[in-house]
Every structure is written in structure tokens, then in C-alpha cells.
């Protein structure tokens, strides 16, 4: 709110509307002491109005017609709200007399009665009954409002009757109108909250009807100005004749209305709206007709409450169905993420949103139209900072301008937090709905230039159109309810899955133990027979140096076969051990690993011509022993598959990138068909016959497992006859990644 407007509203809030110290002069007001019943205060016009000598200290029965009135009053229980007693003829004039009790005394108000034409119950009753008959017959809200406007105008004779509804910010909108054409139509116009300040709204809750017979009246003061009972000004909150704020009278004059009446529409204790009546000329509505209007207002409010509850209930039923379906699907699916991903429509419908996102440990899942992931992350962090569990706003841009929310997707968000500890949440998005709002005049009050403390209402009520941007449709209570229910359901699913997971982990640990025992015994017992075969075959060969060639060949085959079976056992064991050993992470110098591998391999390949092209290599973060194995495997592969080349070229390169270190080892060997690239890293997968290239088929699987255990990736590229390149990436140390 701009500074100036706030100041003006503050001035408004100070208007003494409940204790104006005066009444509208078309009637007279008398106050009788709560104990002794003597007159304590009276409006200055009382004597002339009642054509009697009104004096402080007199009794009601001393006044003309007072004997009859006081005998009537004696049989009445005084109540806090004004009660119309009856119409009295006093000094040849007809007065409607109302009475109510306040701590300062009994307030008796005299108003000139309507002419008998429309002043009697006989006339009003059929009209009111007709109206009541129409209620509750499946009328929509619009129909109800139109009926009320029409009926109220018939009943009161005002030129124009509006039904005026407040929005959550107390701006009003005219939603129904009935008029004779003498006043401009205000249908569909908006009026700013400042037109009816908070304290006036407060009074509307208390006193449900207010009439201003003419905006051009001269107030008649209450004399004396303070009550002898408590020394305070007379509280006129419930008075029918209460004089209104001069600002309001000016407002009326600016609007071109000389008289007005307002009936409060109170739904479930909340000021829902007003029935607002105007005429260009001064206009009076008698106490009986006003009472009928008040009754209409109450009936209407009850009906609105019923309509709203019915709407809420039917939407709630619809939502509950969506919710039940979604929840049952969620609990059936493998994970919350999967469940949400598989049911985007239900997820969106739950909060009538165009987009939805779930920020979970597993990542972000979205449905419908949503902002980009970076924004969702930022938003989740912001939601996490908020104090409320639920954030529902139709104007995120205004609430958190620092986020820079994309209006076309996320003008409105409804968010519920899932976790207290992490920025996990569910978010629904609604796009901007650009609205052309027609205001009844520019919604600003004007401060007096000469007297800043004096306030003037706005001058113009000509339609003033405003484009409202950056707002979505607002979220209803039901939307929030649905969001909360989904949150609880997800928590339940997560909890259940955590339980299942811990069971699974238990089982895994058990089977891991079994596997460990198995591989332990394999390492002892399976290797031994192979060792024995080789050993005894060797001994046999030693003892029979003169064996014929074929026998020697057979023996060599036996030894070969047993040796390779032994190697297979060894390789399988190292493969299975890899998963069990924890990583001893440290800085590892790849240059050293490559040199080591070269030395190991060169002794085996001494006769070959191999050109090693080793570029500068970075230091990586990993397990030294495991990485040594990986580098050795890759170098050994490169060497093996270049065996047929005249000159083998092995290129090893490395570079440090953002967040990872990448090493590649390429060769100019036999290569492979990319069609089989998927098989390359599988256990026992071979792309060549064993006679061509020896090996157990575990080397690359082992290498991949090593890289996987480091949280890295590995890929292979190759072409038949042109060589192959293996590239792997290892994440950099956590500390480096965050700085």
C-alpha cells in the first residue's frame, strides 16, 4: 500500500463513527437513565420534533403520548438491539418508535412514520412472503442476488439497489443490481476496500441496517454531549438515527446520491457483503420496512451460507474421489516418484492447478506446465525458509519478488512442506490470469491540500478500468485441504517404504553374508583342485622327460586349462570382493598408475613395438588399489587388442572438468562393432573368440565396477579395425565440488 494511502486510512480509522455526538435530524432521540428512568440526554431537536417541552430529568410518561408508550415499554424486555415498538400518533403526527438498551440508558428513537400506503405490515407481508417462498428453490447465487435486489427495491422504493460482495481483501464488487434508470448502473464494478473502512465494516457486523435519509442534513447534537451515567459520549452504535461521518456524506454527494440504505449480509459471522440502496433524492424508509429488509438480508445470508456450503461439499466430494484414487495408486506404485509421475492428471486436479512439482530426495517430479528445474529448486529453498507449513498465494511475484517467478506459469503457488529437515515439498502452480477490473472510479481518496488532516473521498465514480497482472486464481480452502491430504499420504507411503526398505536391507545383509561365506570357501576350496592338477601334471612332466610329443602336448593342455580355470576363479573373486571392500579415498596420481601398468605389461610384451602417447594426467580422488587395477585392465586391453598391429599406439589423456576428472585410453587396435557396445562391460561378455584374444571376460566388468563404486561413469567408443577408446569420469572430491 502506498504511504499516502495508508495515512489516509489511518485518518479514516480515527473517525468517531460510533460516538458522533449527533443524530440525523429527521427524528428525535431520548435517553432515559438505566436506574431511575429519568431523561439524561436528548437530541437538540427533540422539543421541536416532538412539539413538546423536553427537559433533562423528566420521565417518559411526562411526554405527549408517553403514558401509553411507557406502559407499553413496561411490558417489553429491553434488548440491546433496537426494537421497533409500534407507530404512535403524537400531536397529530405519526411516529415509528424504536427502543434499545445500552449501559448508558434506554435509548428511545422517534422517526416520522411512512404514510400508511407502504408502512403497514399488511402491504409488506405478501411481498416478503413471496420472496421467502422463492428462497431455497434451487436458486443460484446470481439468481438469489437478483431476486433480493428486485424485492428490496419494491419494498423500499429506492431508485437503485445493489448487492455488493467483499473479496478477501475487502474490495467490493457489485454482483446484482435493480434500478429505475435514474442512477448510473454499477453492475460488475469494483470498489476499493478503503471505501468502507475497517471500523465501518465492524459496525456493519453489529448493526445490520443503516439509513441515511439525506446526505445534505445538518446533524442534531446530543445534549449534553456526555452521559451522566459514565461521563462518556453517548454510544450510538445500535442507533437507527446515528449521524454518519462527514467524509461519507461527501462521498455520497460525489456519487450523486442523496439518500442511501445498507443492509449487512452476514454469513457464518463474517461480513459477506451488503445490500446497498440509493436514490438521487432524499428518501425515507420507515422502521417497519427496514425491519422487513433486515429480515430479507438475514434470510439471504442464510441462503448464501447454504449455497457456499453445498458448493464446498460437492467440490470436497469430488476432491475426495480424486484423492482416494491418487492415494491408492500411490500406495500401489513402487515409489512416490513413480506414483506421481504415472498420475499427472489426478495430481493436478487435486488442487485444480495447471502445474505440479514434488521436490523429493530422489529428485524433482513434475506434471503439467511448470517452471524450469532451477527455479523449482530455488522456490523449494524459499518455501523451506517460510514459517508456515502451507504457503498459498495467488501472487507469488508480489510476495517474493526476489524469486523472479515466471508469471505465465507460477503467478500462484500452493506449497506444502513434506520434511522438517530438508527442502522437500509439494508445489502446485497456477498461471497468471490477466484481469480487466472495472473500478467504480479511481480507487483513491484525496487528502486536503490545505488541511492534510481533513479527508476527502474520491470525486469521480466514472468507470476506471485497471489491468490486474501477476495474479492467478486464488486457492480455496479445499485446494489447501487436498494438498495437505496428499502430503500426509506421501509421508505414509514414504514411511511404509522405509520400513520395507529396512526389511530389504536386512535381507540383503543376510544374503551378502552368505555370499561372503560362499566366496570365502570358493577361494579356498575351488582353487585347490586346479592347483593340484597343475602341480601334479608338472611333476609328471618332470619325471618323464622322454614323453612323446603328443603326450607332452596333452599334458601342456591339461596344465593350460587348469591354469586358466584358476585365473577365472581369481578374477571372479576379485570381482565379488570389489563390492564388499570399502573405498580408501585419497588423491591418486594417474601418471604413476600408468607408469606402473606400463612396466608390468611391457615385460610381457617386450618384443612388440608399442608407442605410448601419454599426455599430462591429473590427480584424481579415489581408491589407489582399485584405480591401479582399473588402469592396468584398460592398458592391458589396449595392448592385447593391438597385438596384430605393426606398431601399436596407445594414447592416454586426461583433463579436469567442472565436478569431474576424465581419463581416456585409446588404441589403434582391432576395435569393435559399436552394435555390441552394450555387451562390452558385462561379466563373461567377449567380442572375440578365446583363441584370438585370451582372457576371462571379466576385465572390463571389473573396471566398470571399480568406476561405478567411485560414483563415476565409463564409456567405450570403437570401430572395427580402427581401434577403441575407453573414457571414464570420476567425481572430484566433495569439498572441491562445493567451493
Amino acid at each position: 500500500m502506498p504511504e499516502a494511502t495508508r495515512d489516509l486510512d489511518a485518518i479514516c480509522a480515527r473517525e468517531p463513527i460510533r460516538i458522533p455526538g449527533a443524530i440525523q435530524p429527521h427524528g428525535a432521540l431520548l435517553v432515559f437513565h438505566p436506574v431511575d428512568g429519568r431523561l439524561t440526554q436528548a437530541s437538540a431537536n427533540a422539543s421541536s420534533c416532538l412539539e413538546a417541552d423536553v427537559r433533562i430529568g423528566m420521565r417518559l410518561c411526562d411526554l405527549p403520548g408517553g403514558v401509553e408508550l411507557s406502559s407499553h415499554l413496561a411490558s417489553w424486555d429491553f434488548v440491546a438491539e433496537p426494537v421497533f415498538v409500534r407507530t404512535y400518533e403524537i400531536s397529530a403526527r405519526r411516529y415509528d418508535v424504536s427502543v434499545h438498551r445500552t449501559p448508558q440508558g434506554a435509548i428511545v428513537e422517534y422517526e416520522p412514520a411512512d404514510p400508511p400506503r407502504d408502512g403497514s405490515h399488511a402491504v409488506q407481508y405478501p411481498g416478503t412472503r413471496a420472496f421467502l417462498m422463492q428462497l431455497g428453490h434451487g436458486q443460484s447465487l446470481a439468481e438469489l442476488c437478483a431476486t433480493v435486489a428486485r424485492h428490496t427495491r419494491q419494498l423500499t422504493g429506492f431508485s437503485r439497489v445493489l448487492v455488493y460482495r467483499f473479496d478477501p481483501e475487502w474490495n467490493g464488487k457489485v454482483i446484482a443490481e435493480d434500478g429505475d434508470g435514474t442512477l448510473p448502473s454499477y453492475l460488475d464494478l469494483h470498489f476499493p476496500a478503503s471505501d468502507i473502512p475497517a471500523q465501518a465494516r465492524q459496525l456493519y457486523l453489529l448493526n445490520r441496517i443503516r439509513l441515511i435519509r439525506t446526505a445534505a442534513y445538518e446533524p442534531s447534537p446530543i445534549v449534553p454531549d456526555t452521559s451522566p451515567v459514565d461521563g462518556r459520549p453517548l454510544d450510538l452504535s445500535m442507533s437507527a438515527l446515528r449521524s454518519v461521518s462527514s467524509v461519507h456524506l461527501e462521498y455520497m454527494r460525489n456519487m450523486g446520491t442523496a439518500s442511501s440504505m445498507s443492509v449487512s449480509l452476514i454469513v457464518d459471522g463474517r461480513l459477506w457483503g451488503l445490500i446497498s440502496c440509493h436514490s438521487a433524492q432524499p428518501h425515507h424508509v420507515g422502521a417497519q420496512a427496514r425491519a422487513a429488509c433486515e429480515l430479507i438480508g438475514q434470510m439471504m445470508a442464510l441462503q448464501i451460507g447454504a449455497l457456499e456450503r453445498a458448493e464446498v461439499a460437492s467440490r470436497a466430494v469430488e476432491l475426495k474421489q480424486i484423492e482416494v484414487t491418487l492415494l491408492s495408486r500411490l500406495s500401489e506404485s513402487l515409489s512416490v516418484v513413480q506414483g506421481l509421475r504415472d498420475n499427472p492428471d489426478l495430481w493436478l486436479k487435486l488442487a485444480s492447478a495447471q502445474g505440479a512439482a514434488a521436490v523429493l530426495d530422489e529428485g524433482i517430479v513434475t506434471a503439467g506446465v511448470v517452471p524450469d528445474e532451477a527455479f523449482i529448486q530455488k522456490l523449494a529453498a524459499w518455501i523451506y525458509e517460510q514459517t508456515d507449513e502451507v504457503v498459498a498465494t495467488e501472487r507469488l511475484g508480489e510476495l517474493a519478488p526476489e524469486l523472479g517467478a515466471p508469471e505465465d506459469v507460477a503467478s500462484g503457488i500452493l506449497a506444502v512442506r513434506i520434511s522438517q529437515l530438508r527442502a522437500n515439498c509439494l508445489i502446485w502452480f497456477r498461471p497468471e490470469r490477466v484481469q480487466l477490473v472495472s473500478w467504480g472510479g479511481e480507487p483513491r481518496k484525496v487528502a486536503d491540500v490545505q488541511e492534510p488532516e481533513r479527508l476527502h473521498p474520491r470525486q469521480s465514480f466514472g468507470t476506471w478500468k485497471q489491468l490486474v497482472k501477476g495474479r492467478s486464481l486464488p486457492w480455496s480452502d479445499i485446494d489447501v485441504l487436498g494438498a495437505n491430504d496428499l502430503r500426509n499420504a506421501i509421508l505414509n507411503v514414504v514411511l511404509r517404504q522405509a520400513e520395507e526398505r529396512s526389511k530389504l536391507i536386512e535381507e540383503l545383509q543376510r544374503s551378502n553374508k552368505e555370499l561372503e561365506a560362499f566366496s570365502y570357501s570358493v577361494s579356498h576350496d575351488l582353487r585347490a583342485p586346479f592347483r593340484h592338477i597343475v602341480g601334479f601334471s608338472e611333476l609328471l612332466r618332470d619325471r618323464n622327460g622322454d614323453m612323446d610329443e603328443r603326450s607332452q602336448h596333452y599334458l601342456a593342455n591339461i596344465i593350460d586349462a587348469a591354469m586358466s580355470a584358476g585365473r577365472l576363479v581369481d578374477d571372479l573373486l576379485s570381482f565379488s570382493q570389489l563390492g564388499r571392500h570399502s573405498l580408501a579415498l585419497a588423491n591418486v596420481d594417474v601418471v604413476k598408475l600408468v607408469e606402473e601398468a606400463r612396466r608390468t605389461l611391457e615385460t610381457e610384451q617386450a618384443a612388440r613395438k608399442v608407442h605410448w602417447d601419454v599426455g599430462p594426467l591429473p590427480v584424481v580422488w579415489g581408491d589407489h588399489a582399485m584405480l591401479r587395477q582399473a588402469i592396468l585392465n584398460l592398458c592391458s586391453n589396449a595392448l592385447k587388442y593391438t597385438r596384430t598391429c605393426e606398431e601399436a599406439v596407445i594414447r592416454i589423456k586426461g583433463e579436469k572438468l567442472q565436478g569431474e576428472t576424465v581419463i581416456s585410453i585409446g588404441d589403434n587396435g582391432v576395435g569393435f562393432d559399436m552394435a555390441y557396445v552394450g555387451k562390452l562391460f558385462g561379466v563373461f561378455q567377449r567380442l572375440h573368440r578365446a583363441e584370438e584374444f585370451e582372457g576371462t571376460g571379466i576385465g572390463l566388468a571389473l573396471t566398470k565396477r571399480i568406476i561405478d563404486r567411485h560414483g563415476g561413469w565409463i564409456k567405450a567408443e570403437g570401430e572395427l579395425g580402427k581401434g577403441a577408446t575407453f573414457t571414464f569420469g570420476l567425481p572430484v572430491r566433495d569439498k572441491e565440488a562445493t567451493t
Binding site: Y520, S523, H524, D525, R527, A528, F530, R531, H532, V534, G535, F536, S537, E538, L539, I559, A562, M563, G566, R567, D570, L573, S574, Q577, H581
Partner: protein
């Protein structure tokens, strides 16, 4: 070197025993080779008790100890040997099929002098036994011992 002390081979597998003996024979070591077929017997030997109660006195030059043994396993034998103030000086070589890291770690914790994974390749096994035999049975002078 008239009193060459014996080598104690602790091995339950007949085949492994035969192969080891063949390898040792190839080294042409002059030492006697005593074979114990399980951990309990090995302990009886070193502690001069049970069937070995009346054996010739003197500690073995080296104990070649298989890890997986019936009754009392290799690690336990090692633990008892290394836990004895006198016997702890006898060099113990763990011979094993196991490539299990935890066995290796445990053996060194218990004070093993060498740990050899029996290679499938007999040539390599032979070399290993030969090296071990040479080193522990001949070259390695035992510390003086007071009895």
C-alpha cells in the same frame, strides 16, 4: 650346520602336502621335514606334548602353516605360537589358498613372518617354496635360545 633344525609343515590336504614336499625336495634342503595334519597336532609338536611328548628337543627352523585346518585352524595356531614368549621367535609362514584380505590382515596382526598365497601355477609355487625354504630354513639364523 650339524644340527639343522627341522621344518614343520602343517597341512591337512594330502595333495597339497605331497606337492609341498615335492617342492621342498627339489630345493634339496637337508632339513628334516615334520608334517602335522591339523592344528592340534602342530601345537602338540611345538609344545612337546601328546604324541610328540617324547620328540627330540629343539624348535623347528620354520613353520609352514596352512590357514584352513581341521580342529584348530591356522590362525589359532599362529596366535598361540606368537603368544608364547619362547616360541614367538620361530618364523611362521602362512601358506594359503585364500586370497581373502581379512585373512592376510589378521595374520599380520598376529605377527606372521610371511604370507604366501599358493599360486595355481606350480612353477610359481615351486619358486615360492624354494625361496622360503632357503631363507627361513638355512639363511635365517635363529636368535640364541636359553632353555
Amino acid at each position: 650346520m650339524s644340527d639343522l633344525r627341522p621344518i614343520l609343515l602343517v597341512e591337512d590336504s594330502a595333495k597339497d602336502m605331497e606337492l609341498t614336499l615335492a617342492a621342498l625336495a627339489k630345493c634339496q634342503l637337508a632339513n628334516d621335514i615334520i608334517v602335522a595334519r591339523d592344528g592340534a597336532e602342530a601345537l602338540d609338536y611345538v609344545f612337546c606334548r601328546g604324541i610328540h611328548e617324547n620328540r627330540d628337543p629343539g624348535d623347528p627352523a620354520v613353520v609352514l602353516l596352512d590357514l584352513k585346518l581341521p580342529k584348530v585352524d591356522g590362525l589359532e595356531v599362529l596366535e598361540q605360537l606368537k603368544g608364547d614368549a619362547m616360541l614367538r621367535r620361530i618364523p611362521v609362514v602362512m601358506l594359503t589358498s585364500s586370497r581373502e584380505e581379512r585373512d592376510l590382515v589378521r595374520s599380520y596382526e598376529l605377527g606372521v613372518n610371511a604370507f604366501v598365497v599358493k599360486p595355481v601355477d606350480f612353477g610359481a609355487f615351486f619358486e615360492a617354496i624354494q625361496d622360503l625354504g632357503m631363507f627361513w630354513a638355512i639363511l635365517n639364523e635363529p636368535p640364541p635360545r636359553v632353555r
